[in-house]
Symmetry: C2
């Protein structure tokens, strides 16, 4: 099943860009008449027939269009401190895209060792996972933002913060939230959030959650939160 | 918190091997009197005081011993076809160790592209995750085995197979099993199990499970199964 990511989709006829045309004709060696599949990242899933095999500009005839393909009944936004090792953040993005996530924001915290994030590269990782796992919705990756500034942004839904500080009450997500909601979950850096950061969130109405007794790496904690939200919404 | 993996622990006095002694004195620069922590991989969690700082043979005095540290109330064995890209299998082992797993068996299936597995290297990956996530139990990694041979081995507990073939009934794990049991879950290669492999398992009494509607990579499916078992057992 050959999937192409085409956010600029047009109907009833569409042309692949030069890179994807080359991939389609030179790599996949698909002939005129072959069917390929397009996702626009906004819920559109299209079946298209190759009508011209120009390796620089493959012309397609859209034969079927499904909108809202695989639409989730909830919305998950995870704001995560970038890991020291960038591979770990990219790994999280790939896995979260497979499992289901809507929005990711890299969060620069007091204890963040890495404070610069190349979101264009992260977006490519997500796009590749979108195609591999056949998602019609492309998760949004926001520009990195400082923790305090992020907490000033409005969010309609359940606001949760996962931290490892032993003080204060913490609950499992499943005990705190209902299914079919919008969720925003904060995941801290290696070394965790500072007590000030946690208190700031609690004062803003965030609820503290635990992901269990395991000592999880940042990216594992974020994926675990992603698992839980999808689990309680299925 | 400095954790050392010491399967050959002795009491009341123990000496670190040359590599760990060097790490302890030259890298961590720990002095006589400092406390470090030892896990034996079999549930033993030890607090030890440095009584000699010989960088080739650090002598320790065990001051506290906890047995059955972090013991789980269930047992999870995942048999997984090795991924084409070895990093993906290693990634799964690291994450499963963080989240909780007891035993892993690399499974050579009809459609396995990679049929040779270096379990000594995989064991090192697990050991590193054991130390990082402070686990007193070291998950067991078995030698790779062919699918049909593996299914001949006895197992007392819930035997489950996760596959993507559309025929036949499938259930979510949580709807099939009780908490506090022993679970064995089969995870197939890229390209899935063959229908013959699935039928062989079903005839052996395995139950077919689904991990949801998402199209998951092999290692993501395995971690998803690991997450679900830990979720229903917490």
């Amino acid at each position: 099943m050959h999937i192409f990511y085409t956010p600029d989709i047009t109907q009833p006829v569409y042309a692949l860009n030069e890179e994807e045309s080359k991939h389609c004709i030179k790599v996949l060696r698909l002939p005129i008449g072959a069917l390929i599949y397009l996702v626009d990242g906004k819920g559109g899933f299209y079946t298209a027939e190759i009508i011209s095999d120009n390796p620089k500009k493959v012309q397609l005839n859209i034969v079927k269009a499904e909108l809202g393909y695989g639409k989730q009944n909830h919305y998950l936004h995870i704001a995560i401190a970038p890991t020291k090792n960038n591979d770990r953040l990219e790994w999280f993005l790939e896995k979260a895209t497979e499992l289901g996530i809507d929005e990711i924001t890299p969060l620069i915290c007091d204890r963040s060792e890495r404070r610069v994030v190349k979101t264009d590269r992260l977006s490519k990782v997500i796009t590749s996972a979108v195609k591999q796992s056949i998602k019609a919705y492309h998760p949004v990756i926001n520009e990195a933002i400082h923790y305090n500034d992020f907490l000033k942004l409005p969010f309609e839904g359940d606001q949760l913060i996962a931290h490892c500080i032993n003080t204060g009450e913490k609950e499992f997500i499943a005990n705190l939230v209902k299914p079919h909601q919008k969720y925003l979950i904060l995941i801290g850096p290696e070394g965790d959030f500072t007590p000030d950061e946690v208190n700031l969130a609690l004062n803003k109405g965030y609820k503290a959650i635990t992901l269990g007794d395991n000592r999880l790496r940042t990216e594992t904690a974020a994926l675990s939160a992603c698992f839980e939200v999808n689990y309680i919404n299925r």
